[in-house]
C-alpha cells in the first residue's frame, strides 16, 4: 500500500502488515496523547483506544496538537477520533470519555497489546502501571514538566514507577513550571518508537532504563534503574 511505503524499508513487509492487527490504548489525549495518537495512526496501528474525560480549553492551545480554535470546548477523545478519520481511515479509533480510576482501569485497558501513559498526574500513572502489571500488558510511560521529560517502558514484572515516584504523594515539577509547546512532541515521539519496538519485538526498548531529557541544557541521560 502506497501509504506505508516510507515505513517499509525500516520494517519488513510482514511487520508492516502485522501493525494493522495490533491494539494500542492511549490514556490521555492532551499534550503527549495528541502526538502519540497521530504518530501511531500514521504508522498504521490498526486499533486505537483513546481515553480522556476532558474537553479542550484555552490553556491547552500552547501545546496540545488536537486543540485549536475549532475544537475548544469539544471532547478530547472524540476530537482525536475525528482527527484520525482524516489522517488514516484504515485505523479504527474507539474514544472513551472517562477518567481512569482504580475501579475502571482494567476494563478500559484489557485486550490491548500495549498501553501508553500520556496522563498528566502521578496518581493515574501509578494506577496504569499497577493494572498493566496485574493483567500482563507492557506500558510505555512518558512525562513532561517545564524543559524536562522522561520516558521508560515498563514490562509487567518491572514496576519501574515505584522507583521513579518513591513516595506516592509527589508533585511533579510541571505544577510549578507548566509545559511548553516543544516537550510534548519530543517525549511522544520517543514513546511511539518504544511502542513500535515492543510490538515488533525488535530493537532495544527502555526496559528498566529511564531516558531523562533536559532541553534547557540539551542533555539526555539514560539511567539504569
Amino acid at each position: 500500500m502506497k501509504r506505508y511505503i516510507k515505513n517499509m524499508n525500516m520494517l519488513t513487509k510482514e511487520e508492516n502488515d502485522r501493525l494493522g492487527k495490533f491494539k494500542v490504548c492511549v490514556v490521555g489525549c492532551g499534550g503527549l496523547g495528541g502526538y502519540v495518537i497521530e504518530m501511531l495512526a500514521r504508522l498504521g496501528i490498526g486499533y486505537l483506544t483513546v481515553v480522556d474525560a476532558d474537553k479542550f480549553d484555552e490553556t491547552n492551545l500552547n501545546r496540545q496538537i488536537l486543540s485549536n480554535t475549532d475544537t475548544l470546548g469539544k471532547s478530547k477523545s472524540i476530537t482525536a477520533q475525528e482527527r484520525i478519520k482524516l489522517v488514516n481511515p484504515l485505523v479504527e479509533v474507539e474514544p472513551i470519555n472517562k477518567r481512569v480510576t482504580k475501579n475502571n482501569c482494567e476494563d478500559i485497558i484489557k485486550g490491548h497489546d500495549v498501553v501508553v501513559d500520556a496522563v498528566d498526574n502521578i496518581d493515574t500513572k501509578i494506577i496504569l502501571q499497577d493494572t498493566c502489571s496485574n493483567i500482563d500488558i507492557p506500558l510505555v510511560h512518558g512525562a513532561i514538566g517545564g524543559w524536562y521529560g522522561q520516558v521508560t517502558t515498563i514490562f509487567p514484572e518491572d514496576k519501574t514507577l515505584d522507583i521513579l515516584y518513591v513516595s506516592r504523594d509527589k508533585k511533579g515539577i510541571e505544577k510549578e513550571l507548566g509545559n511548553p509547546s516543544f516537550t510534548p512532541g519530543l517525549v511522544a515521539s520517543i514513546q511511539v518508537s518504544e511502542v513500535l519496538k515492543v510490538l515488533i519485538k525488535r530493537g532495544k526498548p527502555l526496559k528498566r532504563r529511564v531516558l531523562f531529557i533536559d532541553t534547557f541544557e540539551q542533555e539526555y541521560e539514560v539511567i539504569d534503574v
Binding site: 492532551g30 499534550g31 503527549l32 514538566g145 524536562y148 518513591v166 509527589k170 511533579g172 533536559d214
Partner: protein
Amino acid sequence: MKIEVRLFATLRKGRGKKVYIEEDEGLTPKDIIDQLKIDEKDVSILLVNGRDGKLDTVLKDGDIVSLFPPVGGG
C-alpha cells in the same frame, strides 16, 4: 571522605550541576539532601554510583550521588 553529587533539571537552580561534599564517615544521601537544602519531596530518582539508591544508604569515599526531580505532566 569526598562524595560527588550530580544534580539534574530544577535541582541545579542555585546549586550548579555538580557539588562535592567532604565529610567524616557515615554520610547518607538524606544528609546530602539536607545539606543542599533540597526538600525530600523534590527528589524523585536517587542514584548511588548509577544504581537505584536509598536515602539511608551509608556512602563511601568516592561515591557519586545523582538526584533528579519528579516529572509527572502529560
